[in-house]
């Protein structure tokens, strides 16, 4: 408690004496909104990482389908979301698609949108990163020798069983480095949610530096936090990669 008090007093003193102004340490209003922003960034990152990996796995399965229309849908999805800027997608979902959906009425009788900014941000980021993940999983799948698939078939595995129990586990090991890359990109892309007023880290930092004119300090804080976030993600992915390693597969 006293340590916390000393720390806020020290940062307050730092501002008074040098003008280096870290309001998020000693101003309770700024601290509260900054921590909310950090929490929201973690939420968006977590939800979109899980969602986009799932989309990648399902999409890659769809690409191998015997039905032409399933392959067509997956191809359209990948081309659409891989070839358009994520910011445009986010605006399209939030302002464009949202206007076409029915709304709900609130207590005052106003029409309110059904889906809030946070959900739209997650949906659009899942679609964006998911389209890359489909291709990443495909690259892993194509690295598996066809003899392996044939061996599974001759043992009586169905197509789904072959995918889930044989191809996917092997493909995952091959494509993990590329997947890590894409997920790192995804965590950084969560900052785009600020364009649709989702109060994540960049949004709250922007508010804080407009109110206090402390742009350099907040930029520094943002850099350090994103380096830490991405560092933790990369560390976890590498640990997973090592745990999954099978001698003789890949390098």
């Amino acid at each position: 408690m006293t340590l916390g008090h000393d720390l806020t007093a020290w940062f307050s003193h730092l501002n008074e004496t040098t003008g280096v102004n870290f309001t998020i340490v000693y101003d309770s209003y700024d601290r509260a909104r900054f921590l909310n922003g950090l929490w929201l960034t973690l939420m968006i990152s977590g939800v979109t990482i899980a969602g986009s990996v799932l989309v990648g796995i399902v999409g890659a399965w769809g690409q191998m389908s015997r039905l032409r229309w399933v392959r067509g849908i997956v191809a359209c999805y990948v081309e659409f979301f891989r070839n358009t800027p994520p910011l445009v997608q986010m605006y399209f979902f939030y302002f464009g698609l949202s206007a076409l959906l029915p709304g709900t009425r609130n207590s005052l009788g106003f029409e309110k949108p059904l889906i809030n900014g946070f959900t739209w941000a997650c949906l659009s980021l899942i679609c964006f990163a998911g389209s890359f993940n489909v291709e990443i999983f495909r690259s892993g799948i194509e690295a598996i020798p066809s003899a392996t698939t044939e061996a599974a078939e001759s043992l009586g595995f169905t197509r789904l069983q072959t995918y889930v129990h044989v191809i996917l586990p092997l493909a995952l090991r091959v494509c993990l480095p590329a997947l890590t890359n894409n997920l790192v990109n995804l965590v950084k892309t969560t900052t785009l949610a600020y364009a649709i007023a989702v109060p994540e880290l960049l949004y709250v930092s922007n508010q804080i530096w407009s109110d206090n004119e402390n742009v350099p300090e907040m930029m520094l804080v943002l850099f350090v936090i994103y380096i830490a976030l991405v560092g933790i993600l990369v560390f976890a992915m590498h640990a997973w990669e090592r745990a999954l390693r099978r001698p003789g597969l890949g390098t």
Binding site: Y29, F95, S98, A99, G103, L108, G109, F110, E111, K112, P113, G117, Y194, A195, I196, A197, Y203, N206, Q207, S210, D211
Partner: protein
Amino acid sequence: MRNKLAYLGLLAGALAIFGTNVAQADELQDIKSAGVLVVGVKADYPPFGFLSPSGANIGIEPDLAANLAQRLGVKVQFVPVVAANRIQFLQQGKINLLIATMNDTPEREKIVDIIHPNYYASGYNVLAPKSVKLTSWAQLKGVPVCAIQGSFYNKDVGEKYGAELIAFTGVAEALAALQQGRCDAFLYDNTAIEGELTDPLWKAYDMPLPTLGEQPWGMAVKNGEPALASFISQASEDWAKTGYILSLETKYGIPHSAYAEQQHDKYKA
């Protein structure tokens, strides 16, 4: 040797003083001899400075500029400016005068010559559907309110009145969000809201709250142009005296602002 240098220094100093003197005496004269007054105005801030369907600069501020040009007996030429470049345009001599919804602040007083008396003032208010029935700022507690990222009054409204701010990067996004019902009100400059309200698109909306945080606007010329500055200052006093600003408000269909009325009362005596 040292003497020679001292003389050279004196000479250079004298030339510099002479040079600036010439420039000082001349900007008003230059305008008259060139026959044109170049004025920086906004092009995206109806009704203060905006574009007509044919692309001409129109609005209250272009009208003020035209009034000054008429007093000088010269033509007026407009250069569209935005907040981020307007002072630089003035300092670089791209424009003679700036009339661009600029707040008069001590920092700006240092780098350009802001004309007194101030000609207008703005504060902040909300644009809200008439059915929301707002009468006091305290009612905004917990209410979703759209805003513009970086506005200096966001923190006040969030902290003091407990509004739940949803801030966007641009005005168009915030207005779209208001129309889609993502917020119950839009927090912005009262002057800009009055401008929006002249558009029939917003006929189901109004600006129900008392305007807060009012700050004066100032026209500006380059530092060190006393002749031009005093000429414009005279005109500004004249506008206050005759109620010219009030008549322009009527012309562009916005209600009389408290500030313009105060200035009129003060100077007509």
